[in-house]
């Protein structure tokens, strides 16, 4: 009996030793964002926005990067997990925030500095945009459907976009 009980507590000891082990980030933490639809900033500093247009279907924002020689850091506007990197240049990167909200950044000429499955936080640099190829596509998905990105942007970002495109967007 002594050996059996020792065996049982060895199992408990093993659980204690292994607790906290794992690879990458804690899955529950990655997927633990609130289910609310967030208000977000643009994926770059507003001072780097040199132009903007809304697609005809009003489901995508085309942002032209200001300047001609520098590289502009592209950041994640939300906490989430990188769920897709599509294309072979230009690349399209998708960040999953919660079951109701994802964002997509497209037409990236350089390979993003993150991999699929990486947990990213708001403000984390995802890639660099070279201003010799300065157009990026920014899409917002709510409940699985692309919506007008302006509805998710904060006031600062929205005002900056409005300075370039007066197209009404619900």
């Amino acid at each position: 009996m002594n050996s059996k009980l020792t065996f049982a507590f060895t199992i408990l000891l093993a659980v204690t030793v292994f607790a906290g082990c794992g690879e990458g980030k804690d899955p529950y933490e990655i997927l633990g964002n609130s289910q609310a639809i967030p208000t977000i900033a643009l994926p770059m500093d507003v001072s780097n926005v040199g132009g903007a247009a809304i697609s005809a279907a009003k489901d995508r924002l085309d942002i032209t990067v200001a300047g001609t020689t520098a590289t502009v850091p592209l950041v994640s506007p939300v906490n989430g997990i990188v769920t897709a990197i599509d294309g072979v240049g230009p690349y399209t990167l998708t960040v999953f925030h919660n079951s109701r909200f994802s964002i997509q950044i497209g037409n990236l000429g350089t390979l993003p500095g993150v991999r699929v499955g990486d947990a990213v936080v708001e403000g984390q640099i995802l890639a660099a945009v070279y201003t010799i190829s300065p157009l990026i596509y920014f899409s917002v998905f709510q409940n699985g459907a692309a919506v007008c990105p302006l509805v998710a942007l904060n006031a600062t970002a929205r005002d900056r976009i409005r300075a370039f495109t007066p197209v009404p967007c619900p």
């Binding site: 199992i11 408990l12 000891l13 082990c21 804690d26 529950y28 499955g117």
Partner: protein, 194 residues
């Protein structure tokens, strides 16, 4: 790891002390396997996570160990292994696979095999979780964890024939992640008393 060393030490010392205490008196009966069970499990994440995860069906395997000397005639040691593949809502082809390994004490079985028996158990242990992401990439990162977990589990055991019975249980399980993951499960399993 260094921060866990005191905790590991406490668990080890308590375990060995209890194991030795079992030898303080001459045992009246031997520890023995008293039942095994296998079945299916249905799970629902609770709270904010309800919107994040689907309700998966998984598998559950259980075993009971009678230890009359230490636990008396009413209590049994209860061990359970549970697998649940949660789908992540809004994230196509992504799965959070969860394996639970829990050990605890169960009460309420009694001795009469012909009665419908309600039971309650309290189990603790660890849960290994792995987040699988869409496969159409060359080198995805892996996100996995092994975390402490506990569950309170109530249910009834209904005799079918001889030593065979069907049991319906409803474990309320908590995975102690930074963001606690609480699920309410429904288990249906066939139990064979030994």
């Amino acid at each position: 790891m260094i921060q866990k060393i005191p905790l590991i030490g406490v668990v080890y010392v308590l375990g060995i002390a209890l194991a030795n205490c079992a030898l303080c008196e001459e045992p009246k009966a031997e520890m023995r396997l008293s039942g095994i069970a296998g079945g299916m499990s249905y799970s629902t994440a609770m709270g904010d996570n309800y919107q994040a995860y689907t309700q998966p069906r998984g598998a559950v395997a259980e075993a009971w160990i009678a230890e009359p000397h230490l636990l008396g005639p009413v209590f049994d040691l209860h061990a359970t292994v549970n697998y649940l593949p949660y789908q992540v809502r809004g994230l196509t082809d992504s799965t959070l696979n969860q394996w639970s390994f829990l050990l605890g004490i169960e009460t309420g079985r009694g001795a009469n095999a012909n009665w419908v028996k309600p039971f309650v158990s309290l189990d603790i242990g660890g849960v290994y979780s792995k987040l699988s992401i869409p496969a159409a990439v060359t080198s995805p990162t892996q996100n996995s964890s092994f975390l402490f977990a506990g569950q309170v589990r109530g249910g009834v055991d209904i005799p079918i024939w001889g030593k065979l019975s069907v049991q319906f249980a409803s474990p309320l399980k908590v995975v102690f992640s930074a963001k606690k993951f609480v699920t309410l499960n429904g288990d249906v399993s066939l139990r064979w008393a030994l």
